[in-house]
């Protein structure tokens, strides 16, 4: 330990204070939501809540977890996220690996097709028509299959696979391993940063999605929880668009109910982030630099 100058100490103190302030700014909305969700409606409506719950109650959590629509939506979202991510990761790996091989015939045209569809998509109605023609609408497959291959993630993965030294695979071939064995036993274990990054992207996409769930599904039994959350949070802002019947602005959703819904729906992703953050940053850097 060497002595530090006064200037350095002042700078550090200032730096720490500034960072704590930024941290506070980032965390406060969440802390506020948390405090509101555990407070009584009376405390919230009278403006008593700022940092911690007033008139502590679990009523809204009981209310929301006893709501069948919320519970079904939550279970659907977990299923779509886990199932969708697993399918997406499986299919993307199987597509990215051959595309990472420069000797693959037609690789160029395949990549061009992938890139073309990234910039020019069919649009909402053609996609919906396709889902309907395939008889997928209002089934879980409508959520699991159309999003299995994300072009952007696929390109990251292709580039990551390409960055792995050929010599490792050559050694495996000499030892008699086939391509599936190489992919499963060598390439994938070496690609955990990229895989974690893409898995996180994909899981967050499925977790946050409300639009496709709304469009492809026709019943409460199939909607994701985000459809429910959106209805609670945005319902009132629709007043401006209503036909003047007043039904929207009459709809008083208590702030406590909104807050507890937000907390319950964002909690899994908040928990997931710290575990994957390490891979997330590293994976992003590697994929993009090598591209």
């Amino acid at each position: 330990m060497h002595d530090r100058s006064t200037g350095y100490r002042v700078f550090s103190a200032f730096n720490i204070c500034l960072m704590l302030f930024v941290l506070f700014l980032c965390l406060y909305p969440f802390v506020y939501m948390l405090a509101i969700s555990f407070s009584s409606a009376k405390a919230v409506i009278n403006g008593w809540v700022s940092f911690y719950p007033k008139e502590f109650t679990l009523e809204t959590y009981k209310l929301i977890t006893s709501n069948a629509q919320f519970r079904i939506g939550y279970a659907n979202t977990v299923f779509y996220t886990v199932g969708g991510t697993a399918i997406a990761m499986g299919l993307m790996c199987l597509m990215a690996y051959p595309l990472s091989k420069t000797f693959l015939r037609g690789r160029g045209i395949l990549m061009k097709i992938v890139i073309f569809s990234m910039f020019f998509s069919g649009g909402m109605i053609p996609n919906l028509m396709l889902v309907i023609w395939l008889h997928l609408n209002n089934t879980v497959w409508a959520m699991l299959l159309p999003f299995a291959i994300n072009q952007f993630n696929l390109i990251i993965l292709v580039n990551f696979f390409r960055s792995l030294p050929d010599s490792i695979e050559e050694a495996a071939v000499i030892d008699g391993m086939g391509y599936f064995g190489i992919l499963w036993r060598i390439v994938l274990p070496l690609s955990t940063p990229a895989l974690a990054t893409i898995a996180l992207y994909t899981a967050v996409f499925f977790w946050n999605d409300w639009f496709y769930s709304l469009i492809y599904m026709n019943s409460n039994e199939r909607y994701s929880v985000m459809v429910y959350l959106r209805n609670i949070v945005s319902g009132q802002s629709m007043a401006g668009a209503a036909a003047g019947s007043g039904s929207s602005e009459r709809m008083t959703v208590y702030a406590t109910l909104r807050a507890s819904s937000i907390i319950l729906t964002s909690l899994p992703i908040i928990i997931l982030y710290p575990f994957l953050q390490r891979f997330f940053v590293k994976g992003l850097t590697i994929g993009s630099v090598k591209g």
């Binding site: 409606a41 009376k42 919230v44 409506i45 009278n46 403006g47 709501n67 629509q69 909402m124 109605i125 919906l128 028509m129 309907i132 609408n137 709304l214 469009i215 026709n218 019943s219 409460n220 909607y223 459809v227 429910y228 959106r230 209805n231 609670i232 945005s234 319902g235 009132q236 802002s237 629709m238 007043a239 401006g240 209503a242 036909a243 003047g244 019947s245 007043g246 039904s247 929207s248 602005e249 009459r250 709809m251 008083t252 959703v253 208590y254 702030a255 109910l257």
Partner: protein
């Protein structure tokens, strides 16, 4: 021998009985399956267990399946359904907006006028309540009617000026009758509570605009009725006029900017309903335009002793004393063309007849309003409705309790609104104030929708977007005082004229003349 004959007779009788039973069983028709939409909101989530739904099925021998659509994304979803041909058999909660006109004119909806005989109960009510002209206005330019609207015997005064009556009493103030009176009352409130902003908007300024502007002779804002937000309808000449650049509107701006400048009007124009409730319950505001059934929530959560609110008839302004215009025909049912293609004409006719029975027959309309006699309510000797204990004990009040528990009174499903029957769900004062407003003619009908061609609709939409932006921007600046309503008015008018406000008026008047 006798025994054998007896046994044979018994067997024969049994066989005949079985056969006749089987025949009766075969004759009993299977329930007609109908898929419908339901516009869902989080305070009134749809339930398959609702008594009203089950009874409606029994009443019409149908099996109703609801496709629940969150109301936040209602239009988006309906558009996707109609565009892709996946809409259910009937769309509920359809309104007269240009979206539906667009779908109707483009062949995505079945013209109901080809099947009028399937709706006997509906047209009986139309005749009984004298709504023929209202229905006539729902016909589009191609001469077709594309939806069966809900019906009101006369419009409800369900929302209006609401203010603190305990403070009026405390400071010896009369209930304001005019906008000038209201200004004086707000000033007194401000003097006693300098930190407060007495007048507050529910949700956003457009709710206040639409509930107050008619007293100034204009109807802009949200419930523009004609959809342009910058024009209004002249009930005497039966024409559209460019209200946003008239002296009436200038008077309105003068009034609001005066209130704003003196701290009587809350500078936060946008307030989610819980924020709005906080301001009123904590005494940060005392006057608002909102709905009668919201008063209970304001009082229940307040810690102010003796706090009391009440709703009063519309205030009088330079243009009279009017609440926002209201229609006697609102949202309703449309049948997508895909249903006709999928199920055939015979089935579509059966669906229409069943829907007519479910929603518009005397039994059906009573079911959606009051529920089932003997279950949800009984009748006293004077014919008065007495709700069951579960409804009466509910802290939400009968209206909301009936919605949540039984599905009665839900806006997407109740299509017949008879004022006297509705009043059973409210207290006496609500009935009284409704009567006062009806007697004073305080609710004008929603102006007729002009019959526009698809090209004209597109042209109006094209002009409207920049015009409404401009209008909103100037209105905001006039009220907040960054632009002066006296000195900057001419510049505003010139800009509105340059952005073709008159063109919209001309197109609308041409449409109205058709």
């Amino acid at each position: 021998m006798k025994r054998q004959t007896l046994a044979l007779t018994c067997i024969l009788a049994l066989l005949i009985a079985c056969m006749s039973g089987l025949t009766a069983f075969a004759q009993e028709e299977a329930p007609l399956e109908i898929r419908l939409t339901y516009s869902d909101n989080p305070t009134l989530p749809f339930s398959t267990e609702w008594l009203a739904v089950k009874e409606a099925e029994k009443l019409s021998n149908t099996k109703l399946t609801f496709e629940v659509i969150p109301n936040t994304d209602w239009t988006e979803k309906i558009r996707a359904m109609l565009n892709s041909g996946t809409a259910p058999d009937a769309l509920m909660y359809v309104n007269a907006s240009s979206t539906y006109a667009e779908f109707g004119l483009n062949g995505a909806l079945v013209p109901i006028n080809d099947y009028l005989e399937q709706w006997p109960n509906y047209f009986q009510l139309v005749e009984d309540w004298g709504l023929q002209e209202d229905i006539q206005q729902r016909y589009l330019i191609d001469g077709n009617l594309y939806y069966i609207s809900e019906l009101y015997d006369f419009p409800f005064f369900d929302g209006g000026p609401i203010m603190r009556t305990d403070l009026l009493e405390e400071y010896g103030l009369d209930v304001p009758q005019t906008f000038d009176d209201l200004y004086e009352v707000a000033k007194v409130f401000k003097e006693h509570y300098p930190e407060s902003y007495p007048i507050v908007n529910l949700v956003d300024e457009r709710v206040t605009y639409r509930m107050t502007m008619p007293s100034f002779g204009i109807s802009l804002g949200l419930n523009a009725s004609n959809g342009t937000h910058v024009t209004s309808y002249d009930y005497e000449t039966k024409t559209t006029f460019p209200a946003a650049i008239t002296e009436q509107y200038r008077d309105y701006l003068r009034y609001l900017s005066k209130c704003y400048a003196e701290g009587l009007y809350d500078p936060e124009f946008t307030n989610a309903s819980d924020v709005w409730a906080t301001k009123l319950s904590t005494g940060k505001a005392m006057i608002t335009w909102a709905y009668y059934d919201q008063i209970g929530g304001l009082v229940a959560n307040s810690t102010i002793e003796g706090i009391a609110f009440n709703m009063f008839p519309p205030l009088e302004g330079p243009g009279g004393a009017y609440h926002q215009p209201k229609s006697r025909t609102g949202n309703g049912i449309a049948i997508p063309t895909s249903t006709l293609n999928r199920r055939g004409e015979d089935d579509v006719k059966k669906i229409m007849s069943a829907l007519d029975k479910i929603f518009f027959s005397p039994e059906g309309s009573e079911l959606w309003c009051l529920g089932v006699e003997g279950v949800t309510f009984t009748r006293g000797d004077d014919g008065k409705v007495i709700f069951n204990d579960e409804i009466l004990a509910s802290p939400d009040g009968p209206y909301k309790a009936m919605q949540l528990l039984y599905g009665c009174g839900t806006a997407p499903l109740q299509l017949v609104w008879e004022n006297a029957r509705e009043m059973f769900k409210y207290d006496e004062y609500y009935g009284e104030v409704n009567k006062i407003v009806a007697d004073m003619g305080g609710i004008q009908p929603v102006p007729p929708a002009p019959k526009l061609t698809p090209d004209e609709t597109e042209e109006v939409n094209f002009i409207k977007a920049p015009l409404v932006d401009l209008f909103n921007q100037w209105t905001n600046e006039f009220i907040r005082g960054t632009k002066n309503v006296e000195t900057d008015w001419d510049a505003y008018v010139a800009e509105m004229e340059a952005t073709d406000i008159q063109l919209i008026v001309d197109i609308y008047n041409e449409g109205l003349a058709r």
